[in-house]
């Protein structure tokens, strides 16, 4: 006889005969059933079905898939300084090429971060009534447009009385829908290389047409 068999034999049988405990068994059954009846009706525990989990997973996968979809979204790539010069003052204006040299001179001497200036474009548009609109576009990584406009106005006599306006220049960054939401919600900054690519696209269009897009 193995030790397991000995233990089984030695420890297994110690229960009294059924007749001895029958009375207790029945009395306890009645007690328990009375308690069972009297207890508050149990609420069926809420269990999520597999379908709910499957739908949740499908929705999550769909959202992940959608967020990876390629898209384009606007990013600031520089600043546009617009001078509207009255007819009487436009004669004092230098031409676009000379103006470009002035801009470069200003940004190299003005307290703006020259290293922040990536590229610059200058164009002038003369309308029929003799009003000249001068566009100075600077493609930068965060220079102060207002300060630059003030410096330009000081350097060029014709611009001193001109109406001026500084607006951001928007290019189109390429990325995923996730990046777009992150950028629009100010959660994820746009990658520097994406801004540079948007800037290059913009400049390429600029150079093809010869004027601001």
């Amino acid at each position: 006889m193995t030790i397991e068999e000995q233990l089984d034999r030695a420890l297994r049988d110690s229960e009294p005969p059924l007749s001895i405990r029958a009375q207790h068994r029945e009395a306890l059954r009645q007690e328990l059933l009375a308690s069972f009846e009297g207890r508050p009706k149990p609420r069926r525990p809420f269990r999520r079905s597999r379908t709910v989990y499957a739908v949740a997973v499908a929705v999550a996968l769909l959202l992940i898939g959608v967020s990876c979809a390629p898209t384009q979204y606007p990013v600031t790539i520089g600043k546009r300084i617009v001078f509207v010069v009255q007819p009487g003052d436009s004669t004092a204006l230098p031409g676009p090429r000379a103006m470009r040299a002035v801009v470069e001179g200003v940004v190299s001497t003005a307290p703006v971060r020259v290293s922040a200036l990536v590229e610059r474009r200058v164009s002038a548009l003369l309308d029929r009534e003799g009003t000249t609109t001068l566009y100075v576009d600077v493609f930068d990584n965060g220079i102060d447009g207002e300060l630059l406009a003030t410096r330009l106005a000081e350097q060029v006599p014709g611009l001193l009385r001109a109406q001026r306006n500084v607006t951001p220049l928007d290019g189109r960054a390429r990325g995923r829908l996730f990046d777009r939401f992150g950028h629009e919600l100010h959660i994820v900054p746009v990658k520097r290389e994406e801004v540079q690519r948007a800037r290059e696209d913009y400049l390429s269009l600029y150079d093809r047409t010869g004027r601001a897009p």
Partner: protein
């Protein structure tokens, strides 16, 4: 295999009882009563004590029936775990000023010796009596109550692997103790000084 089917049926009855099915509860009680009675009577000698503890176990079972989940273990382990704690509580209540360590093993004062009546098992009885109370408890749960290692784990709050290791070590020790005792008896019979 038959035990597995039995446990599945029992789990089904308890799940039905959870939703308010009175008959299912009654059937589950009918199936569990002998188990619980056997479990308690192996650890307590007085019939009145056994009856009280069986009643207490089933009342607690009814109170906690809503918390039973089949994935956590069998109904048998769930109910015997309640019985195990009822025995501990009763031991504490009986000896309020003695710590549990001092209180001694569950049932050692009562039925362990009675279980080993067979004269052929005298050597085994002697060996078991030399084991620690918690070691005796594991043996009674396995061979007396017929629980599987995972069920013993539920009752004692141990992992199944820990129970297996403990049982294996215990059987090894028991074999060595029995071999040693038989050798000593043989020497005594031959009259070797």
């Amino acid at each position: 295999m038959a035990d597995d089917r039995h446990d599945d049926d029992l789990a089904d009855l308890v799940l039905r009882a959870q939703t308010g099915d009175r008959d299912a509860f009654s059937m589950a009680y009918e199936r569990l009563y002998p188990r619980v009675w056997g479990f308690v009577s192996r650890r307590r000698r007085r019939r009145e004590d056994v009856e009280d503890l069986v009643s207490l176990t089933f009342h607690r079972f009814l109170a906690r029936i809503g918390s039973y989940e089949p994935r956590r273990g069998t109904v048998r382990a769930f109910v015997l775990s309640i019985a195990h704690h009822a025995l501990i509580d009763e031991a504490r209540a009986r000896r309020p000023h003695v710590s549990l360590d001092e209180a001694g093993p569950l049932g050692t004062e009562t039925t362990m010796a009675d279980l080993l009546r067979d004269d052929e098992l005298r050597v085994l009885r002697s060996a078991i009596a030399r084991l620690k109370p918690d070691e005796q408890e594991v043996l009674v749960l396995r061979y007396g109550d017929g629980l599987q290692c995972n069920e013993i784990g539920v009752v004692l709050g141990l992992k199944e692997d820990a129970v297996k290791k403990r049982l294996s070590r215990l059987l090894h020790r028991l074999r060595m103790m029995i071999d040693e005792a038989i050798a000593v008896e043989a020497i005594a019979v031959k009259g070797v000084p």
